[in-house]
């Protein structure tokens, strides 16, 4: 992949006096899925909206297919929207209650392909409905007649109908039951493979992100603190926040040996080391040895001052962390970390492998 599909440079977003995004830089290449992981207040949803210019004020650069999205005219922006789509978190709220799902899915066609006849539009909408597993006969129904999972499929259908080059998924499975999440995740996997589409998958659910992503970025209080290939991030996290996140995920005591075939190294994915099989465990893993830290993230005033945003909660804090905000530096192949101590071998934390 030569020129990246999306380049984000020094993106900053402020909400009044509060900095929500504080200088984010990353690239996204065609066909790859990048997971964006963060907790509440991390700015992950804000980042998505900033990229789409659904928000002001935004500083910095967002280059998509070579065009500066933040500075172009409204008309040019709208023209590019066909290639840059988003699926939102609340499936029902993101659909106009007064439009049938057929009309909702067909709207992008009306906007970008005005030459199509109504019949052609209907054909494409029906095909899309079938593709997302809903069935063409559902086109005349209203959103409130569907379940959450079905509404999410409609949202995905609407986003996909023009075959965008980049799809942003903002917490798309967070409000769904576990037994339904898998259906949506698999649908996204299939669609992405078919269309060779790039996906920016935003979620606080690390396990789901792991399932979908080639690369993962971790965001904390408006800054990216770690970027790595998926397997590398989960096997050898380097930023203290990433480690704390992974350690905090409650684990099922699993004994059943997975019978499903494991993910082979896909052509677009660099070969990743395979994980060792999970040892059969009965008991829940012991609580991690991360010391009990104050749960409060840093106050905005302190955030504005220089220094690492994580310093109030970090078990490895040094004096330099108070004064210097560590930049993202490459510590391994495609592995970037923003931490003054990233080069050291920090005491490993005993979370379940």
């Amino acid at each position: 992949m030569n020129t990246p599909l999306l380049r984000v440079r020094d993106l900053c977003v402020d909400f009044g006096a509060n900095p929500a995004i504080r200088g984010v830089n990353f690239d996204l290449t065609a066909g790859e899925t990048v997971g964006l992981v963060g907790e509440s207040g991390s700015g992950k949803s804000t980042l998505a909206r900033a990229i789409l210019r659904l928000l002001q004020p935004v500083r910095g650069g967002v280059e998509f297919l070579g065009m500066d999205l933040l500075r172009c005219s409204g008309a040019a922006l709208r023209a590019h929207r066909r290639d840059l789509q988003i699926v939102f978190q609340d499936p029902l709220a993101s659909l106009n209650p007064r439009m049938t799902v057929g009309e909702a899915i067909g709207e992008p066609l009306e906007i970008f392909e005005p030459g199509l006849t109504a019949g052609d539009r209907l054909r494409q909408v029906s095909a899309m409905l079938e593709r997302v597993g809903l069935g063409a006969s559902m086109a005349g129904r209203y959103p409130h007649e569907f379940s959450g999972g079905q509404c999410q499929r409609v949202g995905i259908a609407r986003a996909m109908i023009l075959s965008p080059k980049l799809l942003i998924c903002d917490e798309v499975v967070s409000s769904l039951d576990v037994s339904i999440q898998g259906q949506i995740v698999n649908l996204l996997l299939d669609l992405q493979r078919e269309a060779a589409m790039a996906v920016l998958f935003i979620s606080h659910n690390l396990a789901v992100v792991r399932q979908l992503s080639h690369r993962v970025m971790v965001i904390y209080l408006g800054k990216l603190v770690e970027i790595a290939l998926c397997d590398a991030l989960f096997a050898t996290p380097k930023h203290p926040y990433t480690r704390a996140l992974l350690a905090a995920v409650p684990q099922l005591p699993s004994v059943t040996a997975p019978a499903a075939p494991t993910m082979p190294a896909a052509p677009t994915m660099p070969a990743a080391p395979t994980m060792p099989a999970a040892p059969t465990m009965l008991s829940v893993p012991a609580p991690p040895s991360v010391p009990a830290l104050p749960a409060e993230p840093i106050q905005p005033a302190r955030l504005m001052a220089s220094g690492c945003a994580y310093r109030d909660r970090c078990p490895y804090v040094l004096p330099i962390c108070e004064t210097n905000d560590p930049p993202l530096i490459e510590v391994g192949a495609g592995h970037w970390v923003a931490c003054h101590r990233s080069q050291e071998t920090l005491i490993p934390l005993s979370f379940a492998p």
């Binding site: 909206r49 789409l52 659904l54 709208r78 023209a79 929207r81 066909r82 789509q85 988003i86 939102f88 609340d90 709220a93 993101s94 659909l95 106009n96 209650p97 007064r98 439009m99 709207e107 992008p108 906007i111 970008f112 209203y142 409130h144 007649e145 949202g155 609407r158």
Partner: protein, 280 residues
């Protein structure tokens, strides 16, 4: 929209008061239309034999006024005029108000600010003085009446629509529409307006009686419809003058007006209840 209309219609049908009110209103409308045919009398004919005759005693079912004109036919004519003005002015205020409010609410910012200031200025207008002023300049006529009502009828509608638009604007499906590349015009037309229609319809049906009352009031003051034309307001004015000697001249048009307003208001309430639940 189909599903919502069906559901609302069903709820409306199960509200006996609203159904009764609607029926009576329809009956009145039908009566005003066919009245001239079923009654042997005419609006303009002066029946010298039956001056100020009480109801029921002659061929004049509702009696006559002090010029001998048949009250039944005149009242129906007056009701027709009042209804026509009421409906027409409501439609205009609906169209103007919805457009104005939706644009102000959606675009927001300075545009909204300016648009709302205009509304506030117009709201502060003392209507009666305004109408008198216009009457002095242009003379009395129905068109003047229409203009005056039109100038103020859309204000509250615009406010309501703007408020509704402000709350709709925050909803995620509007964001989704923007992200889909929809233009501002498209968003207002296809996403905002259909979702504010509920309160708009209700307010529109409640506007009709308000406008009828306003027109009646202006005509009562002598500022609107002129002789020999009749509206409920002028009829009531005439009747008020004869109140002691021939009360029916007041009571007949007065009862019609009261009944009409009552039915329209009850129907409007019923409509609001029917549209209110789970409204988008």
């Amino acid at each position: 929209m189909g599903a919502f209309a069906d559901e609302a219609a069903r709820r409306l049908k199960s509200n006996p008061a609203a159904v009764a009110a609607l029926s009576v209103t329809c009956a009145i409308i039908v009566l005003t239309l066919i009245g001239p045919w079923i009654s042997p009398n005419d609006v303009q004919t002066l029946d010298w034999l039956h001056i100020a005759a009480p109801p029921g005693r002659s061929a004049h079912w509702f009696g006559t006024d002090r010029l001998g004109r048949d009250l039944f036919v005149r009242t129906l004519a007056g009701t027709r005029v009042s209804l026509a003005i009421g409906l027409a002015a409501s439609v205009v205020s609906l169209l103007v108000g919805v457009t104005y409010g939706a644009i102000a609410g959606y675009i927001g910012g300075r545009t909204d600010h300016l648009m709302m200031r205009l509304i506030e200025i117009l709201s502060g207008l003392p209507l009666i003085f305004f109408v008198i002023f216009l009457t002095v300049i242009f003379g009395r006529s129905e068109y003047l009446l229409f203009f005056a009502i039109g100038a103020v009828g859309w204000l509250t509608m615009a406010r309501i629509v703007r408020g509704q638009t402000l709350s709709i604007r925050q909803k995620e499906f509007i964001e989704a529409a923007i992200a889909s590349g929809a233009s501002t015009g498209r968003i207002i037309l296809r996403h905002v307006v259909p979702n504010v229609i509920g309160p708009v319809i209700v307010y529109a049906t409640l506007t009709v009686p308000q406008i009828i009352l306003l027109e009646s009031f202006l005509s009562f003051l002598g500022l609107g419809i002129q002789e020999p034309g009749a509206s409920l307001g002028t009829l009531i004015a005439e009747g008020a003058a004869e109140m002691e000697a021939a009360p029916w001249i007041l009571l007949v048009p007065g009862s019609f007006l009261a009944l009409l307003l009552l039915c329209l208001n009850i129907f409007g309430d019923g409509l609001r209840d029917a549209l209110d639940v789970k409204d988008g």
